[in-house]
Symmetry: C2
Subunit: 113 residues, 2 copies
DNA sequence: TGTCTATTTTGCCAAATAGCCAAATAGATT
DNA sequence: AATCTATTTGGCTATTTGGCAAAATAGACA
């Protein structure tokens, strides 16, 4: 494989990885509605603010979000709302998978009985 | 947050996580063109077959791919091609981010000089 | 300048991940 | 049944991640 192709894959995987955590998905969802500051996000999520800040910096490093300072608060905003379109597909996959997992469990239960 | 909402996020994050590795992105790309068997995928990727097999099982568990046996080979196929549409957006984000990272580096270099 | 507030960074720990090699398994074939 | 081939699983190590608490920082404002 060409190094260039490989690097592209690595970079793309990094962006996807930034999205691959429930807390960060929630943050993205919140930002899709309104630009908000760290303290508001922290309130909504319930974790320690330092934890939330780390999640935010993961999103920022991936290039998915951006910041603006207003007074002494920092507001985060979605840089590429196109990722929202994708979430429908992911939600569909997740739903089907969840159903199948339940089926598998009940199937095993039957076998054991 | 409702437990139901939380669980949905966890499930969706799991699907995204399955996509968050360069090797698995490459596999998905290959499968978007043609259903192929493990040995072919292994050839294309260059890692140990056991490593590739593990990546495939991550994709399978997430519900993104499915398998069919033909003789004593196992063919993998994409279950939800809708994820391909998403890749354009990701590629865009990755490209912009890569450019910005380069800028940052050269900027630091200037500062140091 | 010093202080206040919002946010980020650091240090630490437990858990998860990716890779290889060796061993196990599942069907196909004799 | 014995063997062959394709694939998966288990064991190991090194690395990364997510969480909290404490310390550091950045800018606002007296």
């Amino acid at each position: 494989m060409k190094t260039e192709t490989k690097n592209k894959l690595i970079q793309q995987a990094a962006v996807i990885k930034a999205l691959s955590h429930p807390t960060r998905l929630l943050i993205v969802d919140m930002l899709s509605k309104k630009n908000i500051c760290v303290c508001e996000i922290t309130k909504a999520i319930g974790n320690d603010m330092s934890t939330v800040s780390k999640h935010l910096s993961v999103l920022k490093n991936s290039g998915l979000v951006d910041i603006t300072r207003k007074g002494n608060q920092i507001f985060y905003n979605l840089k590429c709302p196109c990722i929202l379109e994708f979430m429908d597909c992911i939600a569909k996959v997740a739903k089907v998978t969840a159903k199948e997992k339940i089926k598998q469990i009940s199937c095993c239960a039957r076998k054991r009985a």
